[in-house]
Symmetry: D2
């Protein structure tokens, strides 16, 4: 059976959990629309986030890869359209590196677009009452970095793998008691959204 790789991130920025880790673990081992969901949790560390994803790709040979990450402060699931060749960290990564104004890949192109059907995924989420939108900026932290790095790896090696990045909000556990208040989404809704994304990718591949 064809596989789809979903990755989450370890917690960072002082958070106790990372909802992306929790969400992909809920989906691990499931079969959705004929795709087997394989998963991994990658570190919030420059370069290693890319290397770990590449290892998982080499291990599983998936037809599609979706990296999932926490976007604290966002109100909706955002399906990212574009990865840019910039590392500009507002806070250090989990090993203390704080890149400023640096490229992800020296001499790489300015950006890659996601190759998963971004707009259709969002349409399907909204239709199923999961707040969601197309996002045109994945930031300049490890989320954008892994998105750009994986895009570059797939493109440079001429692989037939679809890839993209999905940002998810804080979950209730991270919002309850937070000062100032934080927008949040229940883990159930997030997992439902990711299932819709996988289903949409499966349908896109079949066509």
């Amino acid at each position: 059976m064809s596989k789809i790789l979903l990755t989450g991130f370890e917690p960072f920025g002082g958070e106790k959990v990372n909802p992306s880790e929790l969400a992909v673990k809920e989906l691990a081992g499931k079969t959705i629309s004929g795709l087997e969901v394989v998963t991994g949790v990658i570190p919030v560390v420059t370069k290693k986030c890319i290397d770990e994803t590449v290892k998982l790709i080499e291990e599983y040979s998936p037809v599609a890869v979706i990296n999932v990450g926490q976007a604290g402060g966002r109100m909706e699931i955002s399906v990212e359209k574009v990865a840019i060749n910039v590392k500009d960290y507002r806070i250090p990564d989990n090993e203390g590196n704080q890149l400023r104004y640096a490229p992800v890949v020296e001499d790489g192109p300015a950006a890659y677009f996601a190759t998963i059907p971004v707009e259709k995924i969002v349409d399907n989420m909204v239709e199923n009452v999961v707040p969601s939108s197309v996002s045109y900026t994945a930031g300049t932290y490890c989320c954008n970095e892994v998105f750009y790095g994986v895009s570059s790896y797939i493109h440079t090696n001429n692989l037939k793998i679809l890839n993209g990045f999905i940002h998810i909000p804080f979950i209730l556990e991270q919002a309850a008691g937070a000062k100032p208040p934080r927008p949040s989404m229940s883990l159930d809704t997030i997992v439902k959204g990711l299932e819709i994304a996988i289903d949409t990718v499966a349908e896109y591949i079949r066509q």
Copy 2:
């Protein structure tokens, strides 16, 4: 059995639903910690919102009243501490009245505090992973008006009824597809929060 009255509002401001109406309907007829939940849906119309609540109080003789309303844009359930003697509507009510800089009750005091245990309700919600906070402004629309009006009615008539106001966010249905994005909370989480509020009031009364 002692009764607690919960009211929701009709939809307003171009929305198709009002989550406060949906939430209180889910709780109608339930018994929570020894309190029977009676409910009503009140109009988003100046004065009538108060009159309708007073009618429901006279009909049910509850030991406590909580008016519930939609606070679009808020990220958490907010348990209101204070009702002020001001009507200053940003948009017209459902009958086209747009009050500006007007008192709710001519010659009334500047404000009333809620008499339900506001801080304890918030603590209990947060402990149960429902994002929530104490709010010190219920706005100057019908929500604040009914809160002030009911407080005034209870105080003027020397009734032994606890009262308060709880603001709830948009639900997923109102956020999915919205431009610009809206913070939201699932109806399940909202209903859970209101159950905790009722349970906290019940415990407070028993003490």
Copy 3:
């Protein structure tokens, strides 16, 4: 000549300056529409903020008092309508006190309204291109505390002094380089707004 007392606050919350201190110092000694502007800088410390303002009132016998304070995060000048009998500090004051859920004045009324012409001040600011609005919450920190405390002092002693509170945004110096970004307003615009407020109070007194 009749006097109007303007107070600013000392810096707090890690800021190097408090724009309210800078703004009132620019106005000190000026005569605006027949009112002599006398000023003082008060501490961001519970009770002392009230005591210091009362001392200044006793020293100057002004016809009106406007306490001015920084409201970091607000985009406009906000002229406060209502002071509530609550101290609920999100951060400690400058002497380390962090009050939670406490009254400003034991057994005081829930709230006082400003007695300066709030709505007219806002109208005049907007007409003169100073972004401004009526605010119905002065928060629950020292700003609200001094506003409530001074209102209580004036009311309890039956004094013929108008009083109110004006919140001002961060100035450019506090926003340049801030991460995440902060809304700001130039000190010039803030001072212009306060002059309009004084002028409006002067006209109100003459009528």
Copy 4:
């Protein structure tokens, strides 16, 4: 003398003015650090915004082009780093076109980076107390379109012209009286920021 081309946009989205038009007109004809400032006002219309800028480039043969645009809701001047090959309009342009999910240039690369010294411009603005930051998203409206289109024109024709895009906030006139409140910046501060940008470009060219 070498020229630098600054363009502003016509008003759009129901606004009476566009601060970018007002700001570039204040700078028209000035000489800053040895660069003569030439200016133009371009339409908020797909394709025409690019065509008009290209005409101005052909007319003036500048050494650098900075398109300036209004970013309502932003709190700071943002110097844009990246233009993406996407048109996805939230509102129609001034001739009623509302592109969705369309490329600016068919088969163009995903993105271009600005070639003006973005990071240095921001550093210099912040040092001179002008709130400013590097932005990694210029949106998907005419601002991004002209930025991408001009980048593509320069790149495709192998021209030695630096280019970039600067987003500016609403001015006081657009914020005074607005409901809900809007962040704003005085036109003086915006013009000062643009002068710093030109000066930084001039110094960069000399090196």
